[in-house]
Symmetry: C2
Subunit: 100 residues, 2 copies
Amino acid sequence: MFQALADPSRRIMVERLSRGPASVSELARPLTMSLPAVVQHLQVLEASGLVRSEKVGRVRTCHIDWAALKTAEDWMLERRKNWELRLDRLGDFLAEQEKG
Amino acid sequence: MFQALADPSRRIMVERLSRGPASVSELARPLTMSLPAVVQHLQVLEASGLVRSEKVGRVRTCHIDWAALKTAEDWMLERRKNWELRLDRLGDFLAEQEKG
DNA sequence: TGATTGGTTAAGCATATACTTAAGTATTGC
DNA sequence: GCAATACTTAAGTATATGCTTAACCAATCA
């Protein structure tokens, strides 16, 4: 997931998809690269679980899997919470010191 | 930043640092690779701004830059908010339809 | 039916990444 | 001072990544 978000082009694609579903060529429009390259990025995003797509007729429509995005967000939140807990315990300890 | 978090070894390092500062060899302990490899990962983390370190005597002490971690978290939150806003507008639209 | 649109497959290539080992350089403890 | 500790530097290598072009397939439309 972080791997998938590591590339700037892929982040542009995710950014676009965060505003709603889009076809492959719509995703390609703002990017200065060939269509196959865009499809390869799309494959990375799909493999990571961040994006899903269905093909209807000849157009493939892509959209974000919001639960997956939240997973990455939560990982970081978890680290931050860990830290805040630590600060709290330090605070308690210092308060104990004060009293004692 | 996402690039930095893309590697599992580096995430282990960040995980460790989220529990408090650590020296280079402490960071290396759980990892099955040479010390220079760990230092290279550390350089990536520092370059991304996620981690900082100071050397005192012969030991380098590393710690997370929490503001930087929050930046990545916020990027994802921003995408989610975008989406929720869209859902809200859709909701409003449907409510309008209902009324009209 | 034949051109166009939208996407896919395959092959190849240049650069980046994630390591390795070997050989340093400072501190610190005895 | 001498050894151990805690890195640091340098050089090399294998694999992964991010592209490219060329050729292909399948749905649409004039």
